[in-house]
Amino acid sequence: MVLLKFTFGRLLQLVPVLLGITLIAFLLLRVLPGDPATLILGSRGTAEDIARLTTQLGLDRPLWQQYLEFLGDMLRGSFGQSIAYHTAVGPLILERLWTTLALVGFSTVLAVVMTIPFALMAALHKGGVVDHAIKVFFVVMMSMPAFWLGVLLVLLLSIAFPIFPVSGLGEGMLDGLYHLFLPAFIIALGTAALTIRSLRSSLIDVLKADYIDTALAKGLRARRVLLAHVLRNSLISTISVLGVHTSWVIGGTVVIEAVFAIPGLGYLLLSSIAARDYPMVQGLTVTFAVLVVMINLITDIAYAAADPRVKLS
């Protein structure tokens, strides 16, 4: 019940945020040079063709009318007609939303799976060879451009040792995860580089705490202390880091999408901006905003679950 109320409150907060975001996106796009009708018709258009298309697209009407119309389309869920694709924006976004969510979700899981053991190893061997090796490895991974790393891994794991497919989405759930592994892994490396550092330092702090000594002194087994006390208490700050980073990943995977031919939202946004596909960019902006808010929400809930002192209210 508390959770429901909390969620509802958060969603309500979303309304003014969305309005603000759509207004900014709407105005920014129209300030950019380049007009959609000219872009669509390219070298083939005559002045009359361009004028006709401009009217057809409704771009000759006053800005406020266009904005209101967009709000109306948004409420109806269609988000208007895409200029480039000649079809409703909503379904086109939805088609790719799942791909993006799968990629982001998969990479987050991989990041978590990597973070916990590596951070524990680093913290327990603080200053030692293992600690440094982990640090160096992930710093190197993080500083390699995703594009470069992607091509390298494909050359290694798809061409030299054909374990993974070069790119694409595959058919069905399992095949899909198999296809998404390399791209998700590369994103996860970047995320893990951050979360491992964060978790390692809080682990080190918690390990110094008195209650850990107490726990050990009263004879609890080291494994239990480590997992139940040390890890749980250390995870809290890392959850926020993970949440913030995941919000960024949602729109920031354009390069990975390009290298692995994944039809995700990031690439669609990029090409839609280039094509001045106003309704599509507006629809995507709203989608991204909603996703970021949802991730923050999930972060807060996870936070509360990890730390009993935090109340959802």
């Binding site: 799976v113 603080k126 480590l226 280039a274």
Partner: protein, 516 residues
Amino acid sequence: MGAHEYTIFGRSSRKMRLGLSAAAMFAVLATAGTVWPAQATDLKVAIASDALTLDPIASSDNASIWTELLIFDQLVRPSKSGTKLEPGLAEKWTVSPDGLEYTFTLRDAKFANGEAVTADDVVYSLQRAAGEKSDWARFFKPITKYTVIDAKTIKFNLDKPFTPLLNNLAMFSASILPKKEVEAKGADFFQAPFGSGPFTVKTWNHGEKIVLSKNPNYWQAGKPAVDEAEIQVIAEDNSRVLKLKAGEVDAIVGIPFNQVSQLKSDPDLNVGVADVFRIELVQLNTTKKPFDDERVRQALNYAVDKDAIVKGVLRGNGKAAATALPIMAYHNEELKPYPHDVAKAKALLKEAGYENGFKASMLVQSGDVTYRQVASALQSNLKDIGVDLQLQGIESSSQFSTTKSGNYEMSLSYASSDTIDPDQIIGFTSINPERANAFHTQWKDDRVNALYEQERQTLDGPERGAMFKEMEQRVHDGAPFIFLYHQGMPYASRKNVEGFEVLPTSNYRLEDVVMK
């Protein structure tokens, strides 16, 4: 300080350490999952971009056009060599000697749903293409009257002769659609359209792939040889090449020039370079000084070493250009590219009063590797004659509107032809005003304009050819552009794929592909 503080964990639990290492290994490897065998293959082709729409009258991007040409038939179509027209849905046709009456006889063809293609479908489709919603109306508007003589015969009348018409009828925008279906379904029809062409749309995952299946009713007996053709979208050039090497696709279109020769030496692949109807050039804004002076424009042409660019940047996959037309029908073979002659260029500049050179800026698409390399080659070439060229990066989507507004000095760009007749592209690059004020150079030559009018009303033949040749010569001399090169389009397929080729019109006929 250091690790010893926590040795209680480090020392006491060797098992735990093992467990941790195992978990770390798991993190890297375990999700690798099972490797499963490749599925039985139908033809898979990877191209750079997704079709935006499959409605022929609303398409102008290559991916849409190429796919539409696999789904729909037109009355006539370009031959594979791109030099003449051959029968499509029309088995035969006649043009009256005055060029005002066209009569077409349809072959016995069926749409993919089994219904016969009739004269009504033709009239409906062409009127739609010439209609209000069409981006291509002006190509078909010269037809003023359609007469259905019987189900298989149809007559078009024109008010005045318009020779390019037959070529325009071979364009994707003149695709013959099943009238009943389009009328019943409206815009939805084009989400999974079918026509009388070799393939129909099975599924379309936007941004990922279009799966085409064989049209069982296709009129060319025995074709297509494949049951399914999958057009995959792989935007990144390197990824597309890797995908082909790994055997995940059977053919790709578009290869970075610096990888062509390496792929040619791969024993598993066939590599080809299509001579597509395309010309790369630098637009010169002839309304601005010093580009208003013909001598200056010629000097720029003499200063550029085109052969070196073709060799260095295109790795030999192209040809130096002499004029603003692709090498296609009626091309003036006698015309030679401006030779690389620095002394001559300097002399011309001196004559024009620019002995000490000048400063100029050039728009270059940012993010395009080939263009960037060509631009720096131009920069160093022009430096030799004292011209200080500043490069101005521009996003590809605003380049056209920028040059259109006239707010530029030089702009590195290209033009390509949708038809096999030079009328369309000469109208675009060389006629002012017509469609684009001679591709935004504002260059104007009354003789060229007059020849253009005349050519459009002269029946195909040597007489019309002579007009094009004269226009080409005058454009060459007037030099509203720096004529650069004709760039080839590299493509490749795996050895077990037979008959995959990119045609001069840039599209591919997958109905001719056989998988061994």
